[in-house]
Subunit: 389 residues, 2 copies
């Protein structure tokens, strides 16, 4: 059995970005750029008015004859002589012969002429060609996580596709003959399956929406076949349950029969002790404990960083922060314990319902407290590390 | 023209949850419960083993004859006499005649009998019926935001549908004859449309994925008709551009022609001055400035809270935090200014590229700094309020 620190070190060693793919700009929100993106155009692509007003070639004169009008979107380049101006609107192309725009609120207009009441500075209210970015310059750098502004910025440069790190293909395999589907009648001895949904939704939070989910009977042959199938089509396989030491826990044997390489099995932690991590070829495999809360906690601590790293994130772990314990917290297990907690105003409280089967407390928790195996008690008021959920 | 504070007060007055709908559990991630959810079952639904081991009626005896086996999922209730035990597995139903489970690692087995080496405490490793929740008790309270654990918890109780606040139907109407679609050639005077995509993706972050987007020509008749159509089918209408004072800005007139009620028009802020907010019937309307960064900043400050409130969130504004200014920050405008910034280690820096047309800085920004209209300068090292993006 290895420590949590050792297990995390193993996970970190397998945290590498996955393949690069060219994706349409509409689909890359939350993804990470796998290459610098160069601007194909100058932005703005022409000398652009930043105001509704009048464009003219700057001079000390305050009277101009209005010889035309340029709407936004118009390609027209009206010639201007000395003492001439054009009516212009925000976003419109400023004529080559003009360099300054005066706001419409700062002029009076009569008889086809304007009288400027407040003379702007030379070149005021004009966005020079390429002011925001010039053609060929780096628009966004490799490693940038694309938010709505980033995607919009690239779209504004006319970029239709970009190179991003691919979102991993993940599959979920549920074991446990006692599990019944939600919506069906519960028979004596059965419980409802929640892990398939919980894991799918946790994956969705990462932007991983295409998840292959299947359920397998608790026998070695079926489990081996199901794992074989998932390994072929997935970058990451999550198996729920069947990894303990019971006579009907076939997952470890089935993984060995599939020639999967074990990196570690069993971590000195509570909950989540029987966690298995390994790989076959490029496919990473987690066998998670079947208990709902254990399964999700192992997901947050070990699966989340691996997936985020595959998606190209440089910071792939959930944030680890520190806050003061509101009450004393005991650890009588000689293991690292993860506790469902709540943090508010810098104070951490431990929620009731810590058993590995209990999801309710995670539903209302915003922090997963970590008490290391070598610490028996954290006193009230002492700092404790937690994972921000 | 009203102040930012007044504008936010108006928005807050319109921040009410939208209608309640019964939704399948698979679709409610990120939504808010509109009613307490009661558990339809006891959880666990039977006395359940928490370990792989042997179940027996507690006594000081350490030798038991193994008279059967209970797999997880089995409905069997094996009768146990004195001195008898059953082989049992994690999650399986503990026979009525047993109250304690000993871990398999703590026994030796031979000749159909077990010898307990480490006697557990009475009732150890048995989860009592209803330990996690009893039938009829509140599983999750009204107002709970459903995360993956919450949804999983409800699924584990066999709950297939819940009452949640509906996600608002939002439509986006883009104005601006100068706008060209991404993927097409840019003609002289044109720029690429980015607002339709930026707003759609910002809505997606809120879980609003079904968004009706359309583009309208810059004339009053078309704009009025397009607004009329969107008003009929939406809870919230976002209009991009056409709200300034230019001769081709028809949005305000078109809104009046639709009998929309104006709550406010123009806010003493930079960027985003020509923001319009109003409603018709139950449909709320925002006319956002057309400049990409102004549009998105108005979305974060004013649209985001209204949508979150409609979704039933109690805290509907983006978090407002405080940090120290890395450099002096000037405000020479007599307006509230929003600046794209970065916060790290409690220090705030202002990014370059603050113009209202510039999205790039928002792409790499994690904070929107707020300098109120009555403050001319924030000194280096002074605290500044920011909106966490």
């Amino acid at each position: 059995m290895i420590s949590v620190t050792e297990a995390l070190q193993h996970i970190n060693n397998h945290c590498t970005p996955s393949k690069v793919a060219k994706k349409p700009i509409k689909k890359v929100m939350g993804m990470v750029l796998a290459a610098d993106v160069l601007s194909p155009i100058n932005m703005p692509p022409f000398k652009q008015s930043a105001m509704d007003g009048y464009a003219f070639e700057y001079s000390d004169d305050t009277t101009y004859m209005v010889v035309g009008e340029v709407q936004a979107g118009s390609s027209e380049n009206i010639k201007l002589g000395r003492g001439e101006a054009v009516r212009i609107f925000t976003g419109a192309r400023v004529p080559n012969d003009a360099d300054t725009v005066v706001m419409q609120e700062h002029v009076t207009r009569a008889d086809g002429c304007i009288e400027i009441k407040i003379l702007p500075k030379p070149k005021a209210n004009v966005r020079p060609l390429g002011e925001q970015i010039t053609k060929g310059a780096i628009a966004l750098e490799k490693g940038t996580t694309l938010n709505e502004a980033g995607v919009g910025f690239l779209a504004g440069l006319g970029i239709a596709k970009v190179d991003v790190y691919q979102t991993p293909k993940v599959s979920v395999l549920i074991t446990g003959d006692e599990l019944q589907k939600v919506g069906k009648e519960l028979e004596e001895g059965q419980v409802y399956d929640s892990n398939s949904l919980t894991l799918q939704l946790a994956l969705k939070r990462l932007g991983i929406t295409e998840v292959r989910v299947s359920k397998v009977k608790d026998d070695l042959r079926s489990t081996t076949k199901a794992i074989e199938k998932h390994l072929k089509k997935s970058d990451v396989v999550l198996i729920s349950g069947g990894i303990s030491v019971g006579d009907y826990d076939f997952v470890q044997q089935a993984l060995m029969d599939n020639n999967a390489k074990e990196v570690f099995y069993k971590v000195n932690q509570k909950p989540g002790k029987p966690l298995w991590f390994g790989y076959k070829g490029n496919t990473k495999i987690f066998a998670l404990p079947g208990n709902p809360a254990s399964s999700l906690i192992c997901f947050y601590v070990y699966v989340w960083p691996l997936l985020k790293a595959q998606m190209g994130y440089q910071e792939f772990h959930l944030p680890r922060l520190r806050a003061k314990a509101k009450t004393a917290i005991k650890n009588s297990y000689d293991k690292t314990i993860f506790l469902k907690g709540n943090v508010s105003n810098g104070n951490v409280s431990v929620l009731t319902g810590q058993a590995s089967s209990m999801l309710k407390s995670l539903a209302v928790s915003n922090a997963l407290l970590i008490v290391p195996s070598n610490i028996e008690e954290i006193n009230k008021g002492e700092y404790i590390t937690y994972i921000q959920l």
